[in-house]
Amino acid sequence: MQASALAQLRHTISRLEGRPATGWDWTNGSASGPGAGGTDPLATIRIGLGLEEADQVLQGGLRTAAVHEIFAAAADGPAATGFAVGLAQRVLSALAPAGRPRLLWIRDDFCELEWGGLFASGLVEWGLDPGVLVMVRVPRPLDGLRAAADALGCGGLAAVVLESSGPAALLDLTATRKLALAAAASGVTALTLRLDGAPVPSAAETRWLIEAAPSSTGATRRRWPWLGNPAFTATLARHRGGRDGRWTMEWDGDGRRFRAPPSEAIDDGTRMSLPLPLRPADPGPLAAETDGRTAGPAPGRSATAGPLLSRRRFPGRGGGQDR
C-alpha cells in the first residue's frame, strides 16, 4: 500500500517535471520500468558523451527531447561551438536511423559577425555531415527564439542548436520552459549555445560551462609542438535530478566521441626535450601594447618572465618552473 502510494507520487512528480513516467528509481539510479527503448517513438533516450565518468554522472548520457544549455566566456566561444557540434553529432548519429536525419542551427546576424560563420568543411572534420545541416540566420535574437520554438515542433529533426551572443535576456525561465515543453512534445533535442552569456534561471535539463583547454600534444621531438585533439574543460553546472561534475575531455574524431585526454599529456612541461625559443629578450612591440586584455599570460607576467627567460637561451616550456 505504502509502496504503491510512493509510486503514485513519483509518477505525479515526473509528470509535473515533464518527464515521461519511465519508472526510474531515483534512489538507486537504475531503470526499473518499461521506458527504455519502449514503444513510444517520442520516448526519450540517453545519449552518452563517450566519456565514462561523465556518462555515469549523467545516468547514461544527455536526455533527448530536452533543453541543454552550453555557456562559454567570450574567448571560449569556439571551444563551446566544438562541444555543441560534438553533442549534435552524437545525437544525430543516434537518432538518424529513427527517422530524424536533420540538424537545424539557428543564429542571429550578430553571431555571424562576432564569431564567424559556421564552416562546413570544419564540421566534416568533426564527423558531422554538412548535408544534414540547415542553417537559419535570423535578424534579431527574438526571431531566433521564435524560430527555435517552431523548429522544436518539427518531428523530422534530431536536434536544434540555438546560438546566441551576449547575456541574452530572452532565454529566461519562461522561454526555456516553452522550449522544453516543445522539445518534450516532439522529441527534438534543443541545445542552446550561449556564447559570452550569463547564466540565468532556466528550465534546461543540463547546463554546461565550457572552457578551452590546451590540447594534448602527440609528437614530442619537434621544433615546436603540434596541436592535439580539440580539448575542453566542461563543467556540468546544473543537472536536473543528478550530480554535477567537471571533466577535461577531448574530441576523438575517429571514434566520434568525447574521451579523456591521454594521461601523459597533462603535464606537458617536462616532456619537451628539445628546447623552444619561445620568447625573445625584448617582449616586442606587440607585447608592449598589452592593455590588460591579454588573453595569453597574465598582465605583468611577461614583463618579469621575459628578461629572465631571455638569459636562458632555450627555456623549457612551462615558464621556467623547472629551473
Binding site: 536533420r102 568543411s121 545541416l133 542553417m135 540566420r137 615546436w224 592535439g228 580539440p230 575542453f232 625559443p277
Partner: protein
C-alpha cells in the same frame, strides 16, 4: 503649368485647363506664355516622378488585367482580351476607369480597340471611343496624320505635303510614301489600322492562376483579411487541382481603396495546393513585414495568384513515418523562409575549389533538389574530411569571411624559420602567445582569376597558452616583381573548436 528645358529654352510641357482657355499650349516657350499671362504658376518638370506615378497607376490597373504595359511618356496599355465582361461590358469598363481616375484626381483619356495601335491613337485623339473588332481602319481614318506617332521630321514632311488625316495617307498607294518618307510610314499605318499588330509585353510576368475578392465596402479588419485569404487559398487550390498543378510561389496583392498596392509573395519548397499551407505562409509573410500592412481606409480588392507552378501528382501516401517527418520538415523550411526570407535558410553544398571561403556553397534550403541546383558544380561531390586518422581537425569550425588582418610577430632567434608560424599575434586587441603550431599548409588561390600572379596562402594551425586554437595564414605571391616577404601580411581566418 510645368516647364522643362528643351533645345536650350524653357518650354511648357504641360498646361492646365485654365491656361488652355487663355490660349497657352504645350510646347510654347515660357517667355511667350508669360507675355500672354504674366501671372503664371510654373513648376519644373520631374520626369522621374512622372515615371514613378505612372508605374503606380499601372500597378493599380492590375485590377483590370494582368497584362499591363507602360506606354511612355504618359500612357498605359491594358490587354482586356476576353475580360471586359467581368466589368459589365466595354462601356461600363471605360466609364469605370475614367471615373476611378477622376476620383483620384487624374484625367484619363480611354479608348478601346481591337489592336494596340488603334487604341493608342484613339485614346489620344478621340478619347472614349470603343471600336468593334475589325473596324479599326474606318475608326482611325478621320484621325490627324500626327496620330501615326512618327518622328517629328517625317510628321512635318507629311503635313507639308498636305496630307492632313490618316485617310489621306491610307487611300493613296503605299509605294509613294515609302520612297518619299521612308518605310516607317507604311508600318505605322498598318499598326494603326490593325494590320500586323505587335504583341503587348506586360510589365510583370502574368500569373498562372489568379483569383480575387472584391469588396463593395473597403475592409480594414485583420480578421476579415485573414478569412479572405483563407477563402481565396481554398479557391486557388481547387483551380490548381483541376489543372494538376501545385504552386511553388504564391502572391497576395492588396489593393487599397486610395490606389496603393502591396504585394507579398511566399515560396514553397515543393509544389502545393493545400489551402491551409498557402494561407499560413502568407500569414507568416504578413507577420514578418517590417512595417505592418497599413489598410488605410481599407482594401477594396484582395487577390491571390500562383506565380510559379509545377505539376503535382496526387500524392501517393507513403506508408511509414518517414514521409510525415519529411513533410513536417519541408513545412518548417517554408514557414521560416516566408518569415525571414528564403535566402536566410540555407544548406551547404560542397564547392569544387580549395579556396576555403568557397568550399561550402550556401544554397537556399528551399531550392535544394531543384534542377538548377543539381547542375551546380560540386553538387554531386561528397564532403571529405581533410584530416587523417588519429589527427585533429584540419579545418576550423568557424570561419571569418573576409579574413581578419592581424598583427603577427615572427619567431626570433636561432631556431626560427622565415616561413614558420608567428611567435605571437594580436587579434581584436588581445595578444595571443603561440605555444603550439602546425604548418604551413599552402593553398594556392585561383591563379586564373589573378592575371599573371600566383597568389597563395600559407596556413598555420596554432594554439595559445589557454588552449584557444586559431587558423592563421600569411598571404604570399609567386610573383618575382611582387612584394617581398617583409611585406607579407598575416590574417586570422578561422577558429578551431
Amino acid at each position: 503649368m510645368v516647364v522643362a528645358k528643351i533645345d536650350n529654352a524653357l518650354r511648357l510641357t504641360a498646361v492646365d485647363d485654365a491656361a488652355a482657355r487663355l490660349g497657352i499650349r504645350r510646347g510654347l516657350p515660357l517667355t511667350s506664355a508669360r507675355a500672354i499671362h504674366p501671372d503664371l504658376k510654373v513648376v519644373e518638370a520631374d520626369p522621374a516622378a512622372d515615371q514613378a506615378l505612372l508605374e503606380a497607376i499601372a500597378d493599380w490597373c492590375d485590377r483590370y488585367t494582368p497584362f499591363v504595359a507602360i506606354e511612355p511618356p504618359d500612357g498605359l496599355l491594358l490587354d482586356m482580351s476576353g475580360g471586359a465582361h467581368l466589368f459589365d461590358g466595354e462601356e461600363a469598363l471605360i466609364a469605370d476607369i475614367t471615373q476611378a481616375m477622376a476620383r483620384r484626381g487624374f484625367t484619363a483619356a480611354v479608348a478601346l480597340a481591337g489592336s494596340i495601335g488603334a487604341a493608342r491613337a484613339l485614346a489620344r485623339y478621340r478619347p472614349g471611343t470603343i471600336v468593334p473588332a475589325g473596324t479599326e481602319a474606318q475608326a482611325v481614318a478621320p484621325l490627324p496624320a500626327a496620330a501615326l506617332g512618327l518622328p517629328a521630321d517625317v510628321a512635318q514632311a507629311i503635313r507639308r505635303a498636305g496630307l492632313a488625316t490618316v485617310a489621306d495617307l491610307a487611300d493613296r498607294p503605299r509605294a509613294i510614301f515609302s520612297s518619299r518618307f521612308g518605310a516607317l510610314v507604311g508600318t505605322a499605318l498598318d499598326r494603326l489600322r490593325g494590320v500586323g499588330d505587335v504583341p503587348l509585353s506586360p510589365r510583370r510576368p502574368p500569373p498562372c492562376f489568379r483569383i480575387g475578392q472584391r469588396f463593395a465596402e473597403p475592409v480594414a479588419d485583420a480578421a476579415i483579411i485573414a478569412a479572405t485569404i483563407a477563402g481565396l487559398a481554398r479557391d486557388l487550390g481547387v483551380h490548381l487541382e483541376r489543372a494538376g498543378q501545385g504552386a511553388r510561389r504564391v502572391e497576395a496583392a492588396f489593393f487599397r481603396s486610395d490606389g496603393a498596392l502591396t504585394r507579398l509573395s511566399a515560396d514553397t519548397s515543393r509544389p502545393t495546393r493545400d489551402a491551409a499551407v498557402i494561407a499560413r505562409l502568407l500569414h507568416e509573410r504578413l507577420e514578418a513585414l517590417a512595417d505592418p500592412l497599413d489598410p488605410g481606409f481599407g482594401f477594396d480588392l484582395i487577390r491571390l495568384a500562383a506565380l510559379v507552378v509545377e505539376p503535382l501528382d496526387t500524392a501517393a501516401g507513403a506508408f511509414g513515418g518517414g514521409a510525415e517527418a519529411e513533410r513536417s520538415f519541408t513545412a518548417l523550411i517554408d514557414r521560416l523562409g516566408a518569415r525571414f526570407g528564403t535566402r536566410r535558410i540555407v544548406r551547404f553544398l560542397p564547392g569544387d575549389t580549395h579556396v576555403p571561403e568557397a568550399t561550402a556553397l550556401p544554397v537556399p534550403a528551399i531550392d535544394v533538389g531543384r534542377a538548377a541546383v543539381r547542375l551546380t558544380p560540386g553538387a554531386t561531390a561528397a564532403w571529405q574530411a581533410m584530416r587523417g586518422a588519429t589527427e585533429p581537425p584540419a579545418r576550423p569550425l568557424r570561419l571569418f569571411d573576409p579574413p581578419h588582418p592581424i598583427q603577427a610577430q615572427p619567431r626570433p632567434g636561432l631556431g626560427s624559420h622565415p616561413d614558420g608560424p608567428p611567435a605571437r599575434f594580436r587579434w581584436r586587441r588581445c595578444l595571443h602567445e603561440v605555444v603550439k603550431a602546425e604548418g604551413p599548409e599552402r593553398i594556392a588561390l585561383d591563379w586564373w582569376r589573378t592575371a599573371g600572379r600566383l597568389p597563395f596562402r600559407d596556413y598555420f594551425r596554432v594554439e595559445d597558452e589557454a588552449g584557444h586554437r586559431f587558423w592563421l595564414f600569411r598571404e604570399g605571391c609567386d610573383d618575382p616583381a611582387g612584394p617581398e616577404s617583409g611585406g607579407r601580411r598575416w590574417f586570422l581566418h578561422g577558429l578551431f573548436g
